[in-house]
């Protein structure tokens, strides 16, 4: 299943312009190569006969949506999993990677999506892990610390080797990961979705570092699902779909639309069809809300916003700026320190979760496996997870099986949950269908306000379209919808207004029809755009 340009080895001059600063990449063979890699997990074929490679000094982007097989491929190249068939080659020689230790020894470094840093350890201890320098049996990190500082200076990364990782920002932690790979002598560096947790500014800094590394000869594999970044950074783009390579293009020959359709296999509408909103009275009203996180640190620092009936307000921001705590406070999963939350004119600041649900508040949680579903319970039990105590699902404290079954059958049909079996344990459903169960549950009753947090994370494209449609339908039925998302594209497509959160505060509000990505990106990073509207209504 391959289309597009696909040259394997030396022979064809690759005059790579555009992408990373115009420096041409030497046309040698691959430094790291995957030939015919196949990997199966039970009945799921995660990687099918994948051909992939990266050259010295080249930045290759590996693009694909969730579940396309990118991480599996990288895990095999890094020795974290073994392939079922096929081979991995370094400088043209086949190698067997039995663990990350082997990969590291051969010069393959990986910066994972979820950092592999031990929080209570210092930077030096983390970098030393596995190759600890010692003297007479005792740890001796003095030289290491000096080397770290030197490496950092060379690549423009400023890091204190004695700092504790748990005290570092996400961007800084990522830089520690890069230094860690460099210290181990990485000739190829694989980065898995590195900008997922960065502000646009931090992402730019990262790109500078990566271009510097490539210039010095490091081969870089950059995994992403963000089309624009990939076009901006890479020398060459490889697209994966459903476990196989769907195509390979040069940035100058591609556009976001062409990449998206390679990713999905058909033409994808990147914009959602929706009517103009007809907002009514304020429904979700938050005033000066202050909420602490688990470490008793202020996560929400005096936020005020209001969402009217019939409108969708999006909240943009890099994860970790208080959005999670804001949602938890509004939905009752977290206590507020001060400030208020009203649903229309009803004060629900101190209300229990159940009271809020009864008042007409629905919640699509960010972490669906943790908050939204009880995996071993059946679909039908999950469909009434927060309504089991009301008639007709229970009477005089006794649960009514027939009523539950009827409800489940109805919802499974209406919301197209597959497989359509109410008695299946919900854990056996795919991510998209799990999310549909949650949405069916939340939207199948009279909803006055809906809070949706990251509703399309980890969901296949078909279900994403469905979910967006459901949110808009809720809005058109008169609900006030608060949509929190880390995907700016989603916010721009779905919401009517967008607010930006940074360090626990709302730093800007724009109309999604007229907003510019640059302005929003600036606000997400803490800068203030001149056209900031007043946010207190």
């Amino acid at each position: 299943m391959g289309s597009g340009t696909h040259d394997r080895n030396a022979g064809l001059a690759m005059n790579v312009v555009g992408g990373s600063g115009g420096a041409p990449v030497p046309q040698e063979g691959y430094v790291l190569e995957a030939r015919g890699l196949t990997k199966r997990y039970g009945s799921l074929l995660a990687n099918k006969d994948v051909q992939f490679g990266v050259r010295r000094g080249e930045i290759v982007a590996l693009l694909g949506e969730n579940g396309a097989g990118k991480t599996t491929l990288m895990n095999m190249l890094f020795g974290m999993t073994a392939p079922d068939s096929g081979s991995v080659l370094i400088d043209g020689e086949a190698i067997r990677l039995q663990s990350p230790r082997d990969a590291l020894a051969l010069g393959i470094g990986m910066v994972h999506q979820h950092f592999m840093l031990v929080p209570p350890f210092t930077v030096a201890e983390n970098i030393a892990l596995g190759v600890e320098p010692s003297r007479r049996g005792m740890l001796d990190l003095g030289d290491l610390e000096a080397q770290i500082t030197a490496l950092g200076r060379r690549f423009g990364i400023d890091i204190d080797p004695r700092a504790f990782v748990k005290d570092l920002s996400v961007g800084q932690q990522q830089r520690v990961e890069i230094i860690k790979a460099l210290y181990r002598g990485a000739r190829v560096m694989i980065l898995d979705e590195p900008t997922a947790v960065l502000t646009p500014q931090e992402a730019d800094d990262l790109f500078k570092v990566l271009r510097g590394l490539a210039h010095e000869g490091t081969g870089i594999v950059f995994i992403s699902h963000k089309l624009r970044e990939v076009l901006d950074l890479a020398h060459r783009i490889v697209v994966m779909r459903r476990g196989a390579v769907a195509g390979e293009v040069l940035p100058r020959d591609a556009s976001p639309e062409s990449l998206a359709s390679l990713m999905v296999g058909r033409d994808v509408l990147l914009r959602v069809e929706k009517a103009k909103s007809v907002p009514g009275k304020p429904m979700i009203v938050v005033r000066d809300l202050v909420v602490n996180d688990d470490r008793r640190v202020r996560a929400v620092d005096g936020v005020s916003l209001s969402v009217r009936t019939g409108e969708i307000v999006g909240v943009a921001g890099v994860q970790g700026n208080g959005q999670t705590e804001l949602v938890e406070a509004i939905t009752g999963l977290r206590t507020t320190q001060s400030g208020s939350f009203h649903l229309s004119d009803r004060d629900l600041t101190r209300a229990t979760v159940r009271d809020r649900t009864d008042a007409g508040l629905a919640h699509i949680p960010e972490d669906r496996q943790r908050h939204g579903l009880v995996l071993p319970f059946t679909v039908e039990q999950n469909m009434i997870l927060n309504r089991y105590y009301r008639a007709p699902f229970s009477r005089w404290l006794v649960m009514q099986a027939k009523a539950m079954r009827d409800q489940a059958r109805d919802l499974v049909g209406r919301f197209d949950v597959r497989p359509a079996n109410p008695e299946a344990p919900v854990g056996s459903l795919s991510g998209g269908n799990k999310q549909k169960v949650i949405i069916a549950r939340e939207l199948s009753r009279d909803v006055r306000a809906l809070v949706a947090a990251q509703p399309t994370r980890g969901v296949d494209v078909g279900s994403i379209e469905f979910i967006h449609g459901a949110l808009i339908a809720a809005r058109d039925a008169g609900a006030a919808v608060l949509l929190v998302s880390a995907e700016l594209d989603e916010l721009l497509a779905v919401s009517d207004r967008i607010m930006v959160m940074f360090r626990g505060r709302i730093v800007g509000a724009v109309d999604s029809a007229t907003a510019s990505r640059e302005d929003i990106g600036l606000m997400m990073a803490g800068g203030v755009s001149p056209e900031v509207e007043s946010v207190t209504r």
């Binding site: 908050h371 009880v374 927060n386 105590y389 649960m399 344990p425």
Partner: protein, 370 residues
Amino acid sequence: MIGGLIPSLAIVTALLIGGVIIWASGPRLDGPWFGIWFVVEAYQALVEGAFGSRASTIDTVLRTVPYLFTGLAVMVGFRGGMFNIGAEGQLAVGALASAWVGFTVTSLPLIIHLPLVLLTGCLAGAIWGGIAGLLKARTGAHEVITTIMLNYVGGQLAAYLLNGVLRDRSPLNVIAQTPKVAETARLPDLIPGLHSGVILVIGVAVLVWFVLWKTTMGFELRMVGINPDAASYAGVNVVRRMTWAMGVSGLLAGLAGAVQVAGVNYRSTLGFNVGYGFDSIAIALLGRNTVSGVVLSSILFAALRTGATKLQFRTQISTDIISVIQALVLLMIAADQIIRWIYRIGPAQPEAVADATSTAAPVASSESGR
């Protein structure tokens, strides 16, 4: 894959291994054949001792009662996501409290006195268990350790009271025990030697099944046991429900103590009714945390214990062999891969098992609960 296959195989395998141990401990005259005959005789004695005569069957049934109560107690705890190792202490305080009401109060008719005695046992057990539940829910203090600590505290408390204020002061009494409870505090017999606690425990088992699988409280409890975060989201008051779960668990164990007082000994004696703590865990796990499983397992364990005396009488093998067999059963249930490997059974289906392990409800609880 029937839910009962693994437990049954575990029992059989444990008995086989037990047989090997018996063979090794017995006389081995005239070569191996004689030794095997010895094992057969041993197990024969076991079965005879449990069900051989009317008296022994009654004994077995009587033993089943506290096992079933405490087994249900532990099961309820597990379903609520908590490991109740405190059945021992909860039973002890239940026995103490009910005996106290039993012998202190003398002027009530049976219709009032007996239920009062039993309820007191329930209350004492519920408090003893509820403390651990509240601590876990509020402070995260692991209930495994707190319940074990409470066992010891309960033991010391019992020793203190039974040697002190609750002690039988009559001149003929030389041991640490309460006076006998009034006639009106005793469970009437169904047939001579078999008290009506048997009916009570069956009724309680049905009630527990109903509450856990048919009511909203049970639904909440099971939700909390599998995923407390989702339960919060669903509007459940998790702290209250966890405390409630341990409270109910303790209540059942306390009731076990009360029934032993009201039906068997008619008093609370130091050192009696010991050993239900660990046995109840084995029973709950063997029964896969389902009511029918717990019922069957209690009968099994009661039979093993009752038969062990005859086994010892016939073969001189100490009754502790039963503890070894129990431990083996438990081992194989916990690591059911062992059974699967021995008998070449396929891996467990991912459904009701996958996310139930390692969070709260340990060891593959069967979801239907029947």
